[in-house]
């Protein structure tokens, strides 16, 4: 089937995509690496000097970097735990014979389609506002002092918003995986009187393992780059409390005009993401021939 002619045609047809993607990847990346070796400030044009790995030394020894790294890990880790555990529970619930399941399903996946700037602002103002927000009202209802979310627990507030946005994704993927489970197995287990919890641990969880891995890997890729939610709500503050690596690099480049330092930070972010990516590409690669 794959004659010489079709192979040539195939090359010709896929060339534009490959060339464009290659350029898109390699040109900015090479420039970032090059800039990261320069002393380069946008306020000081024409004064670029080669400084070797100095930017990396500054970036990696800057206390802000460790704060940002810690914040990134906390953000990614907490959102992953919330969305995976919540997603499994929700998927199990939605797999039940719920009346009007279609509508419930639409409600559950809705947050995924809300643009990040909208969800950040709605949560910040309508829900988490310390005086007129809905959470403040609920707090006074149950006799608790309302808290000022973005002042007292800024990172937790961001985690909450981001988790809300990604819970639907986890639920949707896990529900799809759950529905591919063998009905007969379930019935057989029910006949045998298998306790629900053992069935979940020995049958459901192993079946979901692959889907859970996919959710974790894909979410990690996106969560490492969370930006808009921070940009709109806290601007990285108070202090550095909600600055993650993505936001730190942005601030260094476009607020402090330090291109060299920002580029070094960018390369660090690329390396972090690639560690995760290696696992994801392997996992999906296995699936390719199936």
């Amino acid at each position: 089937m794959a004659t010489q002619q079709t192979t040539t045609l195939g090359r010709f047809l896929s060339a534009p995509s490959i060339i464009l993607l290659f350029l898109w990847m390699i040109v900015p990346l090479a420039m970032t690496i090059w800039f990261s070796l320069l002393r380069y400030n946008l306020l000081d044009p024409g004064q670029e000097t080669f400084v070797g790995f100095l930017n990396y030394r500054y970036f990696l020894t800057d206390p802000a970097f460790f704060t940002a790294l810690a914040n990134t890990l906390i953000l990614v880790g907490s959102v992953l735990v919330i969305t995976v555990v919540g997603g499994v529970l929700l998927a199990l619930l939605m797999d039940q014979p719920i009346l009007g399941r279609g509508i419930v399903r639409l409600m559950v996946i809705a947050p995924f389609f809300v643009m990040p700037t909208v969800s950040a602002l709605v949560w910040k103002n309508l829900l988490m506002h310390p005086v007129s927000g809905l959470f403040a009202w609920i707090a006074t209802l149950i006799g608790v002092q309302p808290i000022d979310w973005f002042t007292n627990v800024p990172l937790f507030s961001i985690v909450l918003i981001v988790a809300w946005q990604w819970l639907p994704f986890a639920t949707l993927i896990l529900l799809t995986a759950l529905q591919s489970m063998d009905e007969e197995q379930k019935e057989a287990a029910e006949m045998d009187g298998t306790p629900a919890l053992s069935f979940f641990i020995y049958m459901t969880l192993p079946h979901l393992a692959r889907a859970i891995t996919v959710v974790i890997l894909i979410e990690t890729i996106f969560l490492l780059s969370v930006f808009a939610e921070i940009f709109v709500t806290t601007g990285g503050g108070p202090g550095l409390q909600t600055t993650n690596i993505a936001f730190l690099v942005y601030a260094q480049a476009l607020l402090q005009y330090d291109v060299g330092g920002a580029s070094a930070g960018g390369i660090v972010a690329v390396i972090l993401a690639n560690i995760v990516a290696i696992f994801l590409v392997r996992l999906i690669g296995k699936n390719l021939d199936a």
Binding site: L13, I98, R105, M107, P111, V114, L121, L126, S132, V214
Partner: protein
């Protein structure tokens, strides 16, 4: 006996399901409700749930501010433009990989996916500088290109997984019956490919519509889509909750409807077929 248990269970899970769905959906519902309030009601404590003075004035105000239409148009231009470009370049590539695979197709596909793993901050600085020096900052063309490149791997992958499922026997049968290449494309392949192309389009419009990192960093006014327009409400002087809610509702409504329609394809598109 068994029937009674299922009825009880049905009621319990229905209640639980609706409660969970309602809690998750609540912020969106609350936003929509707030958009119909006066600014005074929007701020009032205790909050007004249903018995407030319903008004559509916020929508009129947001609508009349010409910049809403301007930004909505930008969102449409960016989403449609980057998706169209993606199809133009992506369909031939996915086609070739599905119908004339070589030894290298597999690794090419994986490599394409890996470009998606690059965090945008890693390349923000050079893109920003290139755009500044070539006058592409805050232009439709520049942003369409960025969103097109960001989504191209997903387009190729999605189309590839759909094209691969088209049985090749049908092609051969058509050829046996004497169909020319043109007829084969129009009458045999196109009808089978269109559903896959349609879901690819939907997913990419959703992704491009909600994309916030590049739009926030590369646009200001001219080419700024709704993501940036909404972000402008974050300034302290912009604290008009009812109007913010109305603008937000308008910004997410079309894409949410699209998303609801394409939820099945979404799973496949987002996981590259790794979850079935």
């Amino acid at each position: 006996m068994a029937r009674r248990i299922t009825t009880t269970r049905r009621i319990t899970v229905t209640a639980g399901g609706w409660l969970a769905g309602f809690i998750i959906f609540f912020p969106i519902l609350w936003m929509v409700l707030t958009s119909f309030k006066t600014e005074l009601d929007a701020f009032s404590t205790p909050p007004q749930f249903l018995f407030f003075h319903w008004t559509t004035e916020n929508y009129a105000i947001v609508q009349n501010r010409s910049d809403y239409i301007h930004h909505a148009m930008n969102s449409i231009i960016l989403a449609v433009g980057s998706t169209a470009l993606g199809l133009l370049i992506g369909i031939p590539a996915a086609w070739a990989m599905a119908f004339a695979p070589t030894k290298r197709t597999r690794s090419t596909l994986l490599w394409m996916l890996s470009t998606k793993m690059m965090p945008p901050v890693g390349v923000l600085v050079p893109i920003y500088l290139i755009f500044r020096d070539t006058g592409l900052l805050d232009t439709h063309g520049g942003l369409i290109f960025v969103e097109f490149m960001a989504n191209l791997p997903i387009i190729v992958w999605m189309l590839y997984t759909y094209f691969k499922e088209i049985p090749k026997d049908i092609l051969e049968a058509a050829r046996m019956d004497g169909a020319t290449v043109g007829k084969e494309l129009i009458y045999v392949l196109a009808p089978m490919a269109i559903p896959g192309i349609a879901s690819t389009v939907l997913l990419n419009i959703i992704l491009a519509w909600n994309e916030a990192f590049w739009t926030l960093n590369l646009t200001t006014v001219n080419a700024a889509p709704l993501t940036v327009f909404i972000a402008s409400y974050s300034s302290p002087e912009g604290l008009f909750w009812a109007k913010l809610s109305a603008a937000s509702t308008l910004a997410i409504a079309p894409i949410m409807v699209l998303g609801w329609f394409s939820q099945k394809q979404l799973v496949r598109g987002l996981t590259f077929g790794a979850v079935k």
